[in-house]
Homo-oligomer: 321 residues x 2
């Protein structure tokens, strides 16, 4: 959580002149999102989120992300809706960075999801997958299986400074997922990062999904695997099968899984755990001096990966036989 | 700018149950204030700022600060108004910290104040001094002249690592201000930290004053000296006498200065510069590892202090003879 770029009132007011949002009344940098700078702005027209895209986001991807949010919102998914200028564009430049304004969503993220939250996420994820089915644009997942070995190389033997034997375990896992990563499962738009930080609730009801900046075109069931990792483990590292069942049942109530998707679930979960283990490991080993953001501990995902190594079927995640 | 304490939705909702603010709809940590954790909250009743007071604030001082804001708001000054619980208290406990909710103010702070902003600040400062005249509570200024030598001792000879000769210069300045600090000038409530960060504008009109957590009972003209330091120097270290004149003239239009206050202005400015030089120096020399906030460079105030050493009368700050 950080604000990387400060924005002067004058330049922000000039930026807003391109929109039909009325006078700027307030602008607060908010501690939300680790990749970009976010501001909560109040104008005569209401409350909005202003995002400045920092260097970890490829500007070439921004039209995909913004068009996707517009597409999903148009199909009834509650997600930020990009606001367009009078000229009809959603993407501008502010303080030297690509910038966009989206609608503000009420709701709070939960720190310790309960079973009901997992169920709500399962349903929302399935609705997202259905709503994305007719989205025309494509974006490859740079952080899918082909992207993992380069990450492992960046960590190299320094992985063992985080946990003894970690470099060898990563090598082993890479061999497994590269050899048997499933092909031919249903594909489409996936969120790819639907962690508790990115889901809002009002009480126990899901009130919105945010942060589509890892969204891409990939295997739909892989998105479920990311969520099982992010939502259904307890702080002690144990998998809560009741949460897994709740997530999967409510997902299937909207979009039933094929036999092939069910069969692939353990391997997809293993891959998803490896993906977050690797990105966290690389961040952990490469904290720049004076960093404003503390990296997340990769060990959490090592524990999750160990669980998936011993899972033999979708039943281990709570799916009914 | 930082959020030091995270607050869970459940504990925040329980805290809000004591207020008549309706359901919690949103809570965002905001990058505002360096001493405390601040959150912008949205409830069924509207938008508010929630502050958790961190360790640099003495909890015993909080009733003074909150009562002062209520007093000033009641006299028409635009400042945050503490919101009370149904039991009538403005100060509670949240996440193990003293906590209060205040009304949200529109407006933005300016990074590079123009002459008109300085004029507005002068007027608002005088109105604050008048509005505070009948405030019953007292709070000594721990960072007035008696508090500076202990700060200088904490820096010690390490001051010279920031600028050669700085330790000796500080010693010299301490001797001057301790020997001749004015007594008997009009006293009352002062803000004591009215920097551009703490003043909101809508366009060129001042729309509110915030952050009363250094407010205390002290010499009113010292508060002017703090503002001359904070508002009227250019980024290159030069004093902009047009800005000084604008600030002083609009102050005097509301509350004329006595001859004694005018005569004391150069020394008060010198003391105010020394105060911010010393607190910044101590912070600069004592950055804790992993700090989320980068300290402000003390050199800025060394330059300002050098200007004040050569000022001989209030005319040097733009006051008409």
């Amino acid at each position: 959580m950080a604000v990387y770029t400060e924005v002067g009132t004058e330049e922000l007011s000039a930026f807003l002149d391109h929109y039909d949002l009325g006078e700027l009344l307030s602008c607060k940098g908010i501690a939300e999102g680790v990749e970009n700078s976010n501001f909560l702005i109040h104008t005569a027209a209401g409350h909005y989120i202003l995002t400045l895209y920092e260097k970890r986001v490829d500007p070439a991807d921004l039209p995909f992300f913004l068009a996707l949010m517009e597409h999903l919102a148009g199909r009834g998914l509650i997600c930020p809706l990009p606001v367009k200028t009078r000229a009809g564009t959603a993407l501008g430049t502010l303080a030297g960075r690509p910038a966009a304004i989206v609608t503000f969503l009420d709701g709070m993220s939960v720190r310790q999801p309960a079973v009901t939250h997992c169920a709500e996420v399962g349903e929302a994820l399935a609705r997202l997958h259905l709503a994305g089915a007719d989205f025309a644009r494509q974006r490859a997942n740079a952080l899918s299986v082909a992207g993992w070995r380069p990450l492992a190389k960046r960590a190299g033997h320094r992985a063992d400074t985080v946990a003894p034997g970690l470099a060898a375990l990563i090598e082993e896992e890479l061999a497994v997922v590269e050899a048997s990563w499933p092909n031919g499962l249903p594909e489409g738009v996936i969120h790819a990062d639907l962690f508790p930080d990115n889901v809002f609730f009002l009480g126990n009801r899901l009130s919105g999904l945010i942060d589509f900046y890892f969204a891409c075109t990939d295997t739909l069931a892989y998105d479920i695997a990311v969520c099982l990792n992010a939502w259904c483990f307890e702080p002690d590292g144990s998998f809560n099968v009741t949460k897994g069942r709740a997530l999967l049942q409510r997902y299937e109530a909207v979009r039933p899984l094929s036999e092939a998707e069910r069969a692939a679930l353990p391997l997809l979960c293993r891959g998803a755990a490896l993906r977050f283990l690797l990105t966290r490991l690389v961040d952990w080993l490469n904290v720049p001096p004076g960093a404003l953001v503390r990296p997340k501990n990769p060990i959490e995902y090592l524990k999750k990966l160990r669980f998936h190594r011993y899972a033999s079927s979708a039943r281990d995640y709570g799916l009914a036989a």
